[in-house]
Symmetry: C2
Subunit: 192 residues, 2 copies
């Protein structure tokens, strides 16, 4: 086993360490506290090593985000496989989306607010991202023969509730009622 193998392994470990440090620091102090110098200090290397792993700060944020998509997909999947009834399953998915955003605000921000340059409709769209969207499509397919547009506006609504709520533009009270209303809108809109 050549030594260069161990080197590659070490690099991969450090890579993950940087991503984890960025995520954790962002979660505890916000993304504005995530500077290359602080990340370097946490990883206990000098600042320029970050640039041997990532093209720049944006790339680090992007890496955090892409990991987050996988987490979200798993979270949504688990929520809807717990219940059989399609309406309840849909409600569970919506609720799970919002609670994910609530519990991991910085991660969510990296995924959906910060300008990470992730291709979406393209071939090299991260599979984790496609998976997350797919879970939403799955939850909606009992109610719509063409679930994709429905998934888009539902996703938009969930995202809007998240960011507008976070910045105080929508009050926290009445959250459950809004989820009910959202689900009710979807399931009652049969025939089109």
């Amino acid at each position: 086993m050549p030594i260069s193998d161990r080197r590659l392994r070490d690099r991969a470990v450090r890579h993950d360490l940087i991503v984890a440090a960025a995520r954790d620091l962002a979660e505890s102090e916000g993304w504005e506290a995530v500077t290359t110098r602080r990340l370097a200090a946490i990883v206990e290397y000098s600042q320029p090593v970050l640039y041997s792993h990532f093209d720049g700060k944006d790339a680090i944020v992007r890496a955090v985000a892409i990991e987050g998509f996988a987490d979200l997909a798993a979270h949504l999947r688990q929520a809807q496989t717990m219940v059989d009834d399609p309406v309840l399953a849909l409600r569970a998915v919506c609720s799970a989306y919002l609670s994910f955003a609530d519990q991991r605000p910085a991660l969510y921000q990296a995924m959906f607010v910060l300008p990470i340059d992730v291709p979406f409709g393209s071939d090299d769209t991260p599979s984790s991202l496609r998976a997350a969207f797919g879970e939403l499509v799955r939850a909606l397919s009992p109610f719509d023969a063409q679930p994709d547009p429905r998934a888009e506006i539902t996703w938009a609504a969930l995202h809007g509730l998240t960011v507008l709520g976070r910045s105080g533009r929508i009050p926290p009270a009445g959250r459950e009622a809004r989820i009910d209303l959202l689900v009710s809108q979807i399931v009652n809109d049969r025939g089109n």
Copy 2:
């Protein structure tokens, strides 16, 4: 007429000039190009004069945003007073919201994405902001006895469509279909 009056007028003019410069520069080159130095150069004063008008860069963005709320409110109002039928009026408001966001992306960003510290549910919520939300409530009131929660999730959906579309997370094609779907959801959800 004391000379200090002219001074106050000059100050007000310069204040507006700064806000306009920020808005225009953001609209043409994006908010990341809006630096205090560039603003000072446009206004043809030195950098520190900005701080005699505003508490900092955030306050300038906030001023731009608050002007924008008034514009949006007027835009939405005009859209729905053009048509009589409630369904068409609702559709017009949704469409107007999206086109506003589309035509003035930087302004929209200042209003709904950038972290301007604007109180919302509070007493000193800018009246223009309340007015914009009120237009949405008005358009929804024919369809719901309690239009406020409905307005919140509709606003959320519109906002989500905007930002997710802007960052390439939702494709531009099918935009009209999504508006139709959104309206259809609302008007078909009678009884609750």
